[in-house]
Assembly symmetry: C2
Homo-oligomer: 166 residues x 2
């Protein structure tokens, strides 16, 4: 990921080499888990890889269907446990409005993100816009509300689908 402007995520380019995305995500995860002394087991790593199949959030049961093809006896808890671990480590995010999961673009440190989700191509872009977080903090603060967790999800059309569609 770049140097400046890190908070300004983008939708993946149309013809981008997605195998690179996957490989990078897995490398980063390996390094991160090693550093933290937590175990990115084969199963967890494979689930992470499946989540990274595309930039579109994927349902837990879609992960399960794929996992089942190679892993006898995979059951819902198999997947949910792995996803729970990956979420704790910040490696995947849950998209509440879709009941689905997406790989984290920048898992190095804890953060709150915002998501732009394209209703046409399904892809999700992760933002970390300080201005949004400031506005949220101000509003909550003025009511004396102590924020523990945020969900910010905007659904619509990404620039690319917007052009090709209408």
């Amino acid at each position: 990921m770049g140097k400046g402007n890190d908070h300004k995520a983008r939708f993946a380019e149309d013809g981008h080499d997605h195998r690179r995305c996957i490989a990078e995500a897995l490398e980063t995860a390996d390094a991160l888990c090693a550093r933290r002394g937590v175990r990115l087991t084969k199963l967890r790593r494979r689930v992470l890889e499946l989540v990274w199949t595309s930039h579109a959030p994927i349902g837990a049961y879609d992960v399960l269907r794929r996992l089942s093809q190679e892993h006898d006896g995979a059951a819902p808890p198999t997947v949910y446990r792995a996803l729970d671990f990956l979420r704790e480590q910040g490696l995947v995010h849950r998209i509440e409005s879709l009941n689905a999961f997406v790989g984290c673009a920048d898992p190095a440190e804890a953060h709150t993100s915002q998501f732009l989700i394209c209703q046409d191509c399904g892809a999700a872009a992760e933002l970390q816009d300080p201005a949004i977080n400031r506005a949220l903090a101000r509003s909550a603060g003025s009511l004396g509300f102590l924020v523990k967790d945020k969900t910010v999800e905007l659904r619509g059309l990404c620039a690319h689908c917007r052009e090709s569609g209408a």
Copy 2:
């Protein structure tokens, strides 16, 4: 529903007369549906009333359980259909992160809201903060993203629970 400062919602006061909240919500709904020429049937009205049981979002199946006690043959579709109607009319909102529904504080016109949800007392406060919407619009706009729908939900502790708790 004052005049100025309308966008600044509040958590309901501790000892507030909640029967008033319910009565007002139902009156508003009656008037609104009459004006729009849509039918707030007995069933829909009762579901709305059940959603307004408290300021905490309520699950569809909780609504169903209560409805069943007085309405033979109530089934999931009974409730979901009513909730769909109420949502279309802006009378209730869905809280994505809870899979639950809450009465709209100000249903007169379409709007996008933000929610503060207390993890202790369960209550949800609905905000309509232009600053938040501006920040979201700017961020999405800078990526060429066309926003159709927003989910903004902050979970944490309301001022009251914050004091009594810690």
